[in-house]
Symmetry: C5
Subunit: 309 residues, 5 copies
């Protein structure tokens, strides 16, 4: 499969990176209905860990079966499917080679006390990802948490190993922690900072949340006002986050958060597209809907990124 | 020994797993009076560590001798015998090859202050299990404990090593910790979540406790009500836990807790069977009874799983 | 030197253990005046670390010199001599091959604040023991301490290495910690539990203290009463501790604690003998007495174990 | 390129150091407009990590692009460019060989709570520096922080590895922590102490801040008075810091802190020069200005070190 | 150079030690004006780390230059020179082979808060010592500190590596910590205990402070009184500390603490000599004096150990 010029241009930004990493990024960028456009839609299913099985799968019980999600991602023509160790293992053989997979290598859960909840456990390794035929590892960092330094050190080590073994690294950069209030977690200055940190520690693909026009850090507020940074619309905020991701030299995909109406999801996708983002990573909003409805929604999102909707 | 089709179907769920792991799972599934049925009864004797020797063995002093439990498990025709390092070592040569063994690789005890009691010590290694001819390692995690992340990281590393060396992994997933009250430890939403976590970190066999119809997590309560998840009977709760174990793609065995009357134990076994569970892991209720009584009880439990009682 | 049948029967209990470990156990069991009887008397000199040099050696200043203790153990015809790294090194060449030695591999001291005093430092390694020609390593665990899990993990790793390199492991199992009061540290239920834990983590030789008829754990009290466990005499308590040591499948030696009168020491030895214990580990009560007096005392203890006194 | 006698004299101070380290120091000392003079001007761009992207780059948005800084350092004829992992990776191929680079190997950020802010995360490795063709690693220590011992141990290990692999080590020695108030962080006694510590743990190049004439440590105050140490002018303080850096046997570069007027910057450079310092490390004051203005400023600083301004 | 009989007798106490260690001890014992006498005078210069550069070197500014101290030790005909990594590196080539050096491998400083000040950072490695041609590593332990266990474990590991690589180990055993008051730090019972601990963890050379006749530990007081241990004079206390150092089987050198008058220093040396100690380790009292005065003082101290003053 020959890579398009758009994809080759994106790959060129990963200067000095191993051919293995570039090959895996290429594989994800060339896969599915958005293959070759430089845009990506990824299905992540780590909610069984984060929120428990019933909250995640009871709304559409077919989702209790790990095979369901492989099939959904394949049939919707997505770029990649991301999940924790057990989920991937349960279908790794049946669906081998049918869709690029991302092994989510650390995980949190809703059973911990608040003291312990600002961190994640490392629940898989680079060798697990190799064994399961994955294209990338996924890793969450919590900028703002007292545990953040430890998480940075974990992913820096793991990324080095992954790159040396030819795997790409996707970093979920989710501001959370002792120093942030609830509004701060989705504030635009924090979101841009989170993207910057992910880029600085070496992410190949950055996953951040869509943000609000709230500003959280005192020192940042002045700068946003003085320099008249446009954060009025979601598209403007996406654009600012792309700036913070080495002026667009890194692939950035956005998540929209909790389950919401279809129109809201489409608006999000259009804002990501218009702001120059690389795509969506969308989980509960698809797999908690009936399969046909989910396929239709994913189809429409793909069309939006293609500029057809 | 040719594996039955039932067993081969179960093994097929362990996609991409090493032949060594599958061979060991097969060995346990094909052993004893339930061999080939896909059902299992396991004898665990780690109470000497957990509760001390007198509380565990004084009711039936023959049990002070580690040989007693090997013999009990063999004579009852069980699938496997699980115990800590010292217990297995004390009979490893005499009973070599006569019953699959599971080396319990971490342990707690009743001597610690409450602060320290939400964790376990790693008291054996994968190489110990190989040396002693075991089929699997056993490992307890405490979802809900502040120490849970550390425990997850320990078992993920140990499971990887065990699988690479051809040993299966059994995870005791026991909710416990700072964030859970006493009722929460046996609540059905927590039990299902515990099963899910064990599956996600890569358990080949999951051991959980039978649960009550209590719901513990606020966010979960709404889901169980909205989605009308049936948790009214023990069989229904077992069924829900099997869903949470990758829709039955993982072997799950259930324990019943403290010593109780024989009828209660048989009712438990029937509920596990009717809910689609894979079997029982039953310790004090057998080895604290006189040997003949215990053999009779285990015989009846086996009959229940065979559908004859 | 041909091992006696008694010794061979004891060695047979170490099922699946390396020939190296069995050879070292045999060496200690066959050495000295009790050689071949299955009984042992060991001289431990770690009090310089635990209590400081003056408290340990000023009563008999000859003991400041490490050579003194080697000579005492050799001349008294004991089974083994146990000491920390520096003590053994200071005579390792002069007395090479003249008595089996046990390298005490962790140590506490009386200079720490109470917060830090529930743990020990690892102050020697298995390779140190090999280099110095030792027969075994010695290691203290404090069941009941918040640091106990760490200590268990240390000795489990160290024991594995020692066994692989052909050295036996002696565990000092001394209940101490946040969850125990002063009476609890010597209570019979705790002593038996401590012996059980040492056996479970893989001790070849267990060292515990003689206990009182006090019962400490609430849940244990009921069991001791209900099951009518005999703890009335020291001999009965020794017998119960042997039960807790895999029904006598492990070698157990007992210490008597602080310096006391000679008659008390002889009574202790008789109780250990009558309860089926394997012997005494006796330090301050010998090396703080003048050499001739100490030799006479050790001679009489040996005679007691031979049934002659 | 033949090294000047001045540079060879500096290199001779690194006694017993590997030829690799000396070659890299030589490379930096011989590069750019100050090449061969023994003076250095370095561009550091780690503010995206430390203060976030908008505060760092919004004043001159061209700086969002990592290529901008490579070009600025090259076009200004500087000695070296220092930045974190992601920043260097994003231009490592395009600018390979055009300017010596320093991989900043640990990083802090402004999102942490104050409790966690006295430390940094290790965010890159020596092997990363080798892979990216760097001349040195950079590492921050916080003398005065409770985390300082850990930071010292990290850099001592990393320096050893770097030197063995032929890379130089630059230490940012920034007093900060529980034991220091705001004035203490820039006090001259503390600055000299920080330089001394960096030298003692093995820095090849020391980076400290310009200091005030404040004295912070009680014991130090007396000495400065009794011995009549001259700390009245910035040049005198630079001179004292050079004394504290093994009497000038180590290269020391100074930073001036927050953005300030051009005249202040030139005064700083003259003081460094007159006090015998080796040069400036200057970031925000250049890259936050428009490129032409920054080039002019850097040109003038270079002239100052050449004694022409 | 043929070792004297006195030196050979000292070396014989290091039973079973590697020839490399013995060679290095021999090298230090045979060097300088006291060579062959079994006595040692060592120059330690770690005060730049401990107290900062101005407090250490401003009284005699020539000492800012690391070369100064090498020369002082050489010209005074001392046995060895001890300093941290950077200090040794700065003269390692110029003075190679001219005096045995001891690499101080851990360090504290006066910038830490009191919480953090009961520990030291490991700031050099055994391989650093080999690379720099050192004869020994030096390491401080703080018996009495909550961090002491960690320090013991560090030096036990490091000593093992050093001995295997043919380097001797000098332990600075300085009582300090949560459990000791100011008087306790220099009390004779604590000093003897500190010497004993250093010997037990394997020190080849022990460095302790001269002590007072204060007794600190309650249990020790009784023993000193009951056993009538002579602690009335400094010489008697030195003698007692030699007892505590395996009855003189280990080399012990004493430091006198803060700067004091010349006569006090000479009295100290005579007490050490008369009590049977091996010598002095003396820093500030020499290098803070003008060079000629320091040389004269060191000359007189050497004469004292030779019995000529």
């Amino acid at each position: 499969m020959k890579a398009t010029q758009t994809v080759r241009r994106i790959l060129a930004n990963y200067e000095g990176e191993t051919p293995g990493v570039k090959a895996r990024l290429c594989q994800m960028l060339m896969n599915g209905r958005l293959g070759g456009t430089g845009k990506m839609v990824i299905l992540p299913v780590d909610q069984g860990f984060e929120h428990g099985p019933a909250r995640s799968f009871a709304p559409n019980p077919a989702g209790y079966d790990p095979h369901y999600h492989y099939k959904l991602a394949i049939d919707a023509g997505l770029n990649a499917y991301a999940a924790p160790l057990g989920m991937l293992e349960a279908g790794a053989d049946t669906f081998a080679g049918q869709i690029p997979t991302i092994l989510k290598a650390n995980s949190a859960n809703s059973l911990m006390s608040s003291t312990a909840s600002k961190d994640q456990a490392v629940t898989a390794s680079v060798d697990d990802a190799l064994r399961l035929g994955c294209s990338a590892i996924g890793f969450t960092i919590y900028p703002g948490s007292d545990a953040a330094f430890g998480m940075f050190e974990e992913i820096v080590e793991m990324r080095k190993e992954a790159a040396a073994k030819g795997l790409a690294t996707v970093i979920w950069s989710y501001p959370r922690g002792e120093a942030l209030d609830k509004d701060g977690e989705t504030a635009i200055d924090i979101a841009a900072y989170a993207a910057q940190i992910a880029a600085l520690v070496g992410a190949h693909v950055i996953k951040i949340k869509l943000s609000t026009d709230h500003l959280s850090l005192k020192e940042a507020k002045a700068v946003y006002k003085d320099e008249e940074i446009d954060i009025a619309t979601q598209a403007a905020r996406v654009k600012h986050c792309m700036q913070a991701s080495f002026d667009g030299r890194r692939i950035v995909v956005f998540s929209g958060g909790a389950k919401k109406g279809a129109d809201g999801i489409y608006d999000d996708a259009r804002a990501i597209r218009d702001g120059g983002g690389n795509g969506s990573i969308i989980g509960r909003n698809t797999f908690q809907r009936p399969r046909e409805e989910a396929l239709e929604m994913l189809g429409k999102i793909v069309d939006i990124y293609k500029g057809k909707a």
